[in-house]
Symmetry: C2
Subunit: 314 residues, 2 copies
């Protein structure tokens, strides 16, 4: 299986420049140890997903791109594809489950995308049917080299901004983010360690890496975590990357995630969604399982229900 | 009276590089019109004040700096001076009123500063006495050319990141921030307009600029605003800058400030303190009084009581 290369990630960086925010590394003096966070929550759609989606669309042949794109997602990938299509002035169809939160659906419509609501089990087949019928290109959330390359641009920025980085912590769901960042860091800073972070309640990748092959956790089991962005599972492609580039996976509890959403708001002045807080939670609560030193935790997104944030702050 | 020059601001930029975060400009697509925010809330101390304090200390003669510094403040300037002194490895004494919030005093102590608590009316004389007795240099919060030059580095970054900026909105309290940013913008982008923003309840500078001389509002009157960082008044020095570089001042209501703290958390994923939200509030609620076009609002700080943020989000 062919894995993404550092030159593909560098090409992605040229494509996403001017669209993705060049997020700063923010030193967190309140945490004991040397922690920087990378606030991808500050992207216009509130999450890193813009990097992969935009890169994948930018990499299409002009004629294919002009016909438009389709995606299925109820979360940050939906907004990322809708936003990127809007930026290119091309049509986008987003297939969402009919149970998707109204707020997220509205955010997707804001970018002019056509939203198609279907029962949750029909999302993928509906998107494939639309792609075929209308000649649109499907943009997957993680199972694609161009998407992985786009997420990897975060790794380039970490290596540039903190050249002597020792540890990088990245949330793992479908694995595209960790695959891309891990590839970039291992190419540019081979001495640095890269750890994935998962909720205990969706720890399928930790188990898979331990036994060396992908295990399936049923969706009902993964759905228990508050980290709603981390309920997907790696594909063969992303899992092959994770086996190569990750030095390990740390799992965090629901209480640790909640505590870290609170700490990021109070101490770092960042609004993080539960998924986005997991890597920082690993630094704060699992330092014994990590190599330590100069550490970067990726805050992957900030799309949290305001009522939940209020509850955690009160 | 001598005003700060663009070359002093450029010199300040070299000094603060590596200490102050190079904050990005963040486009806010949810706001109608073309709005970018500059999140100074992401500085390590949670506010822009680090730029001026650090620049003023860096500009001291080596022997003076080595003896140490003193400041009086209960707010963000206290942390800025303590942090900067810590970075230089020099002693710092911070004189705080005995009514200062415990949280802010603790944050100041974190940087190793000696904290001296006195009745609020004795803050300034106590600081001056300590400076004289111990040979320390007083670092004022705004009434100093080096402090103004440090805050002005924000203007350089705005001009670099958005070369065709048309309007810049800046909170006004003691006036150091608006003086510095206004000077930089008028030097580099003479076509752009620079507006100050004040709470209606602390609108002394708006009134002063209208009548062309400084008016005094009694502290009891200014203390009514929720924007606790905007209760100071310009000095002769900062007022002379404001008269030269501001195109006007907009005032915002308490409700508009609260609404904007909420909007910044929900839509921009930024934790802003009430003072820090005022410039964005002017954009959202007073567009009719502003020239419009590509607009940057400075989010000056993020040190908000978590209970207040929770209340505004719920």
């Amino acid at each position: 299986m062919r894995l993404v290369t550092i030159s593909e990630i560098e090409a992605a960086a040229h494509r996403v420049a001017g669209t993705a925010v060049r997020t700063p590394l923010l030193r967190q003096p309140w945490a004991s140890g040397e922690l920087w966070v990378k606030p991808e929550s500050l992207q216009q759609i509130g999450a890193f997903k813009i990097r992969g989606a935009y890169n994948a669309i930018a990499a299409l042949e002009d004629a294919d791109r002009a016909r438009g794109v389709v995606a299925y997602s109820s979360g940050n990938h939906a907004q990322a594809v809708a936003y990127s299509a809007h930026a290119f002035g091309i049509p986008a169809v987003i297939v969402v489950p009919d149970v998707a939160p109204r707020l997220k659906v509205d955010a997707t419509r804001r970018w002019g995308a056509e939203v198609v609501e279907v029962p949750i089990a029909e999302q993928a087949p509906a998107a494939l049917a639309i792609a075929r019928e209308r000649g649109l290109t499907l943009i997957p959330p993680f199972d694609h080299l161009d998407v992985i390359a786009g997420q990897g641009t975060i790794g380039l920025e970490i290596a540039a901004d903190l050249p002597d980085v020792e540890t990088v912590l990245v949330p793992v769901s479908g694995g595209g983010l960790a695959a891309g960042i891990g590839t970039a860091i291992k190419a540019l800073r081979p001495g640095a360690k890269v750890y994935g972070v998962e909720p205990e309640l969706a720890g399928d990748s930790a188990e898979s890496l331990r036994i060396g092959r992908r295990v399936e956790w049923p969706m009902e089991r993964r759905a228990r975590t508050i980290a709603d962005g981390l309920r997907a599972q790696p594909s063969e492609l992303t899992f092959a990357h994770l086996r190569k580039v990750l030095d390990g996976i740390v799992t965090v509890t629901e209480d640790e995630i909640r505590d870290t959403v609170r700490a990021l708001a109070r101490q770092a002045r960042l609004v993080a969604e539960p998924s986005g807080a997991t890597a920082t939670a690993a630094f704060l609560h699992h330092s014994g399982e990590l190599p330590g030193g100069r550490t970067v935790a990726v805050v992957s997104g900030g799309n949290i229900d305001p009522a939940l944030l209020a509850e955690l702050l009160a």
